[in-house]
């Protein structure tokens, strides 16, 4: 078991290097970092430009350029952003913290509700509530996050204040302008709508996974054995049914990180929420190579990490799986 985990982890490092190399090439071709630097800093001196090229590894061909960028990256000698020459790490850190808060809240709400209604639907397949859950899941999948965001904004922010005089949930930011310091109530109010938007997607996906997984389990032989042993229905469902049905769901959950991050990017942008999504799109719009590369490294690393976790959790949770 331990050796399996070790071997898989060892593979992750060359993969990370390879993928970041590809991202480096794609970004260098796509954003044209030198031209966007000149565009944002038209009066930059020759030495400034040379320094910028050196720090980002832009002077030479792709391979040597990548390695000189990598050297600066791992030694924390990060170049400053193109626009405004800001430090990258403090900005990135804040963005990730904000996104993580939103992402964890949405995932927690989404997964618990999704699993709950998935179980609820699987108990009576083909019944009324099964059909209802199925329909809700379908609508959830078919409504893209930007549309549910717009409709929620329209109802709760714009029309609510028209009908009832006060706006229930604000539509943008983490705090109202001028607020400094921590305020839990305000924060929750600001996070409510974006959380719901991301959670809708999660609920739609997980209720379907859970339903089909639990149906498979409920039809298996050991369920009959458990019943013939005289266990209570609730105990059968929880100990033998749900527990086994969760194995594939957890694996899929770990692989779904990309979808959740993608949903976050869209949602944050509509709600003007200062997370990685806003960070990415504004940096991408400016062709800001120094801001983009660290974010991409973190995205790639987290995708690989969660892939790894999926593999390992699958092996740990299901003793029927033989490794090697």
């Amino acid at each position: 078991m331990f050796r399996f985990a070790l071997r898989r982890s060892a593979w992750a490092i060359p993969t990370l290097l390879l993928v970041t190399f590809l991202v480096y090439i794609a970004l260098r071709m796509g954003t044209d970092p030198l031209a966007s630097y000149m565009r944002s800093n038209p009066r930059a001196t020759h030495t400034k430009i040379e320094q910028y090229k050196k720090l980002n590894g832009l002077g030479s061909n792709y391979v040597t350029g990548y390695f000189s960028w990598l050297k600066n990256f791992v030694t924390f000698n990060w170049p400053r952003s193109i626009k405004g020459s800001r430090e990258v790490w403090p900005e990135l850190k804040d963005a990730i913290a904000n996104s993580a808060r939103l992402g964890i809240a949405a995932t927690a709400v989404g997964v618990s509700v999704g699993l709950g209604i998935g179980i609820f639907a699987a108990l009576r397949p083909g019944g009324k509530r099964d059909v209802a859950v199925n329909t809700v899941a379908f609508v959830g999948i078919s409504v893209p996050p930007y549309i549910s965001a717009i409709l929620l904004q329209l109802v709760f922010a714009v029309y609510w204040s028209k009908w009832f005089g006060n706006s229930l949930f604000p539509t943008s930011g983490v705090y109202p302008p001028g607020q400094d310091g921590f305020d839990l109530v305000l924060m929750i109010k600001h996070m409510a709508l974006p959380t719901v938007v991301v959670a809708i997607q999660v609920i739609a996906v997980y209720s379907r996974y859970m339903r089909s997984s639990l149906l498979d389990v409920l039809n298996s032989d050991y369920m009959r054995t458990a019943r013939s042993k005289g266990l209570s229905e609730f105990r059968i469902l929880m100990r033998h049914g749900v527990r086994n049905a969760l194995i594939p769901v957890i694996t899929i959950a770990a692989l779904d990180i990309g979808a959740i991050v993608g949903g976050l990017i869209i949602t944050e942008n509509i709600f003007d929420y200062p997370g990685t999504g806003k960070y990415f799109l504004s940096a991408f719009g400016n062709g800001d190579f120094p801001l983009l590369m660290p974010l991409m490294v973190i995205i790639v690393a987290s995708v690989l990490l969660f892939n790894l976790l999926a593999d390992i959790s699958y092996a740990v949770l299901d003793p029927r799986i033989r490794l090697d």
Binding site: T15, V19, V23, I25, A26, L27, M29, G30, T31, D32, T135, F138, V139, I141, S142, V143, P144, Y146, I147, I150, L151, Q153, L154, A157, V158, Y159, K162, T171, L255, I257, G258, A259, V261, G262, I265, I266, N269, I270, F280, L281, F284, M296, I299, V300, V303, F306, N307
Partner: protein, 315 residues
């Protein structure tokens, strides 16, 4: 009239034999929601095909002389007008046409490429299979929008490629870009299907009688996976339409020439309309997009149920 004995009960019904396709069709027809969705979708597609007849104004035509911006829905403009007084209803029809075109073309390309790659990977196995599936996994796990934007700019910067697939804002480019990401999901489905089929006796028989690999794939493996492929096709169409809409929403979509529009562009205008309270600008394009993807999703789901032979159990 033949009598059939099931168990001990005499059943008074003639014995009809159905081909797999007929059986699939019967199951599909039994799915009420899917039938309704098919009807709605065909109606939409028809209305969009004959768009010069169904649209009341031209794409760029204003409904009347100014002041004509942001008129609420009325007899003059059924779904209201936009910022420069153009009829939203007519623009929706033209926009849906562009979006469906993008969706269908890139879905067909994705499915074609996905079938070839998936079948070859599943049938040959080995190194090729490993590499293709690793790439597919990685791309599928990556946040879609990030990958889409980065690759879009990369393709746009390659000079010789833009001669073939057009500029970043052309329809051809968007179709190419969406197909570039679309084939992977299909390849994975087809590969799984081929892996299950290739151990079956009839493939062994074909191989024993000297059929070549390409022949087996073409004549046996792909026709036997037609159900999952059809399902993948429907989901590819939805994926491409919403991909285009997402790109357009953030301003990286196609700019169809001469003031033409697409669903994504129309939905993108909704973003600004929320704060000002012009609800029709936000509501109707979103509604059309949701109805289209909901219908195609339902049809895809019914197709999956209809073509999956396991569904026969217990019936």
């Amino acid at each position: 009239m033949q009598f059939l004995i099931r168990g001990f009960v005499l059943i008074d019904e003639p014995l009809v034999s159905l081909s797999p396709r007929q059986m699939a069709w019967r199951r599909f027809a039994g799915h009420k929601a899917a039938l309704i969705c098919t009807a709605i979708l065909s109606f939409l597609v028809l209305a969009v095909i004959v768009s010069p007849l169904t649209a009341r104004y031209g794409v760029n035509q204003s409904v009347k002389a100014p002041p004509n911006s942001y008129l609420p829905p009325s007899k003059l403009a059924w779904l209201g007008t936009d910022d420069i007084g153009r009829d939203l209803y007519s623009r929706l029809i033209y926009g849906t046409r562009v979006s469906l075109l993008i969706g269908l073309f890139s879905a067909f390309i994705s499915v074609f490429v996905g079938c070839v790659v998936g079948a070859v990977a599943g049938f040959r196995g080995g190194r090729f299979d490993d590499v293709v599936m690793r790439i597919t996994d990685l791309f599928l796990a990556f946040p879609f929008l990030v990958a889409l934007l980065v690759v879009r700019n990369m393709f746009g910067s390659i000079k010789w490629l833009t001669y073939i697939i057009g500029d970043v804002s052309s329809l051809r480019f968007i179709i190419f870009l969406l197909s570039f990401f679309g084939w992977m999901g299909v390849a994975r489905i087809v590969r799984g299907q081929v892996l299950a089929l290739k151990e079956r006796e009839f493939i062994e028989a074909a191989r024993a009688s000297g059929a070549s690999r390409a022949y087996i794939i073409k004549r046996h493996l792909l026709p036997n996976s037609i159900g999952p492929i059809m399902v993948a096709l429907t989901f590819s169409v939805v994926g491409a339409i919403s991909g285009e809409a997402t790109l357009s929403f953030f301003g990286y979509g196609p700019q169809p020439g001469a003031g033409a529009t697409s669903l994504g562009l129309l939905v993108g205008q909704a973003k600004g309309a929320v704060q000002t309270g012009f609800w029709w600008i936000a509501l109707f394009p979103c509604l059309v997009l949701v109805v289209i993807s909901l219908c195609i999703n339902f049809i895809g789901d019914a197709l999956r149920d209809a073509t999956d032979p396991r569904m026969d159990a217990g019936k």
